[in-house]
């Protein structure tokens, strides 16, 4: 296990665990703080898996007490996790010959990395950040270009950045970068803040293409028991028999058309 800081408040944690063997992109683990004043486990997406080493990579932002505690973990420490949880990104929906566009916004960027590594079709990645602290930039670039011919042109058409302050790439959000660079997705995958996911959903509906969104909600159990983490669904959910699906077990990834966000 090791941990480094990627940018101000952003940490990169590798943990050794047997769960690495079964972890798929878009799934998450719930990490328990040791401090008993913070009882509930914190959901964190899988950023990358190393099956050979049996290790999972978690990249997270310090958002409060729990993540602040995690940021102090050092090599040799151990940490309690529950997982792997949820259904990941459906990679099989991206058929050979399709162009998949992968959108990550802010702390929604990390799971895009393992997704990119898991997709075998043509793919283009857009990562959105607040400012010039573009964490995971090199990893994403490498993943986007892994299957491409070594030409600069090919590489240049696989990875884009959008920043809110305009310091790198397109000024604005990921959808701005999609428009500016004339990306033409056949299928979309996205993880990021709610306004971004709403924009992705709208775009996908306009273009009539499938989009898979990774949603967030406050969780308690992580295993589908407490019904704390639901999102509104368009149809009556098969498990709950109401218009609510559990993000922890039925998600966190949903087809955009199925959810009311």
């Amino acid at each position: 296990m090791r941990q480094t800081s990627l940018a101000e408040g952003i940490y990169d944690l590798w943990i050794r665990t047997d769960l690495a063997a079964e972890a798929r992109c878009g799934q998450f683990v719930a990490v328990y703080p040791k401090d008993k004043s913070t009882l509930l486990p914190r959901p964190i997406s899988i950023c990358e898996t190393d099956r050979q080493e049996g290790a999972l990579r978690l990249v997270y932002r310090v958002a409060g007490k729990g993540t602040a505690e995690f940021s102090r973990l050092k090599a040799g420490d151990s940490v309690q996790i529950l997982g792997v949880l949820g259904n990941g990104f459906p990679v099989e929906k991206a058929k050979p010959g399709m162009n998949a566009v992968l959108l990550g916004g802010g702390i929604g960027v990390p799971p895009i990395l393992e997704l990119a590594k898991s997709l075998s079709c043509r793919k283009q990645i857009v990562a959105g950040y607040r400012d010039g602290n573009c964490f995971l930039r090199e990893d994403l670039q490498r993943a986007a270009c892994a299957d491409l011919p070594g030409t600069e042109a090919a590489k240049g058409s696989a990875f884009w950045i959008a920043t809110e302050d305009g310091s790198v790439g397109t000024r604005g959000n990921v959808m701005g970068a999609v428009a500016q660079n004339d990306l033409r997705p056949d299928i979309l995958y996205a993880c990021g803040p709610l306004p971004m996911l709403r924009a992705v959903k709208r775009y996908a509906e306009e273009k009539g293409i499938p989009a898979y969104l990774s949603l967030e909600e406050r969780m308690a159990c992580g295993v589908g028991a407490c019904l704390g983490c639901v999102c509104r669904t368009v149809a009556v959910d098969a498990h709950s028999h109401v218009h609510h699906a559990r993000i922890c077990t039925d998600g966190p990834v949903f087809e955009a058309r199925e959810v009311d966000i």
Binding site: Y32, K36, S37, T38, L39, L40, P41, L82, E217, R218, M219, A220, C221, G222, V223, G224, A225, C226, L227, G228, C229, V230, C231, H239, S240, H241, V242, H243, H244, T249
Partner: protein, 300 residues
């Protein structure tokens, strides 16, 4: 060594149950817990029709516990009987169904639908603080509690547990009303009404504004209320509120509870129920106690 306890003629292999709403229908924790080793599984509240529950956020973590405002989302009694009950009946454990409703008629409809099923007991939730109508109103006035208890008792085929709210001035008054109306047992405590404010956003954390407090923070209140009720009524008590370990459970048993339920701490430790059951056995062995019934209510 005996760990069996009995409530209203129903025998439980050990006194450890799951608290309603914290264990789904049992299925969700199947990966962690062998349900055969539990005294009983108490289900999430079930209504006559599916309930959508409250908007999100429904969960807020607080010091030593959590607030929830699920709003009794449930798939309704039909789905429960077709899907969840057959699942639970595969196991050698008792099944207690938690029943919720907005009106007297809704409670009675669920109770009647369960009459021909092989569930072992009913727990009537008149104490959920998270639904606007009905529900808790029945649990905060002794006359209303008496009325619903007697109606449910007349309709029910199974023994009836009335689940009491701690959000009252005098819990013993409620316990006595339930007993007088014919309840076979009482369970307590349900959650304490609470609130959390996000000071950065100057907003309530929960969409419902208020939520029910559970977890270790409420345990001393719960132990006190169980002890008070044990001294006020003769019917058995199922105690709950912040149980995390066998020691916690033993406090409830010694205060007078015949059985205990583990709630929010399942979220913190999915193995909590099993650890509590094993820990109680270890305690009995360590102290050379032959029968668990010797310690029930031993602290006067």
């Amino acid at each position: 060594m005996n760990t069996k306890v009995s409530i209203a003629g129903v025998e439980f292999k050990n006194p450890v149950m799951t608290a309603s709403g914290t264990f789904g229908s049992g299925m969700e924790y199947g990966e962690f817990v062998d349900l055969n080793r539990l005294g009983a599984v108490v289900t999430k509240g079930v209504a006559n029709v599916p309930w959508p529950g409250n908007p999100t956020p429904r969960i807020a973590e607080v010091y030593g516990g959590m607030l929830n405002a699920i709003g009794l989302q449930n798939p309704g009694i039909d789905v429960f009987i077709e899907r969840d009950l057959p699942f639970l009946k595969q196991y050698d454990t008792r099944v207690i169904v938690n029943v919720c409703g907005k009106t007297m008629e809704e409670y009675l409809e669920v109770v009647e639908r369960l009459a021909d099923t092989d569930v072992d007991m009913l727990e009537i939730n008149v104490s959920c603080p998270n639904v606007k109508e009905g529900a808790i109103a029945f649990g905060q006035k002794a006359e209303a509690l008496f009325a619903i208890t007697s109606r449910v008792k007349r309709a029910a085929r199974q023994p009836v547990i009335m689940k009491l709210s701690p959000n009252v001035t005098d819990i013993t008054e409620m316990a006595r009303a339930a007993e007088a109306a014919g309840a076979d047992a009482i369970s307590l405590i349900n959650t304490l009404t609470g609130m959390k404010i996000d000071v950065e956003r100057r907003q309530f954390v929960l969409a419902n504004r208020t939520g029910g407090l559970s977890g270790p923070a409420i345990r001393p209140v719960a132990v006190r209320m169980v002890w008070q009720c044990a001294n006020a009524v003769a019917i058995p008590i199922i105690g709950m509120g912040g149980i995390a370990t066998a020691e916690d459970a033993l406090e409830f048993l010694m205060a007078g509870a015949t059985a205990v339920a583990v709630g929010a701490m399942n979220f913190v430790n999915p193995y909590a129920t099993i650890e509590v059951a094993e820990g109680i056995e270890a305690y009995l062995r360590r102290h050379g106690i032959e029968d668990i019934r010797e310690i029930i209510g031993c602290v006067k």
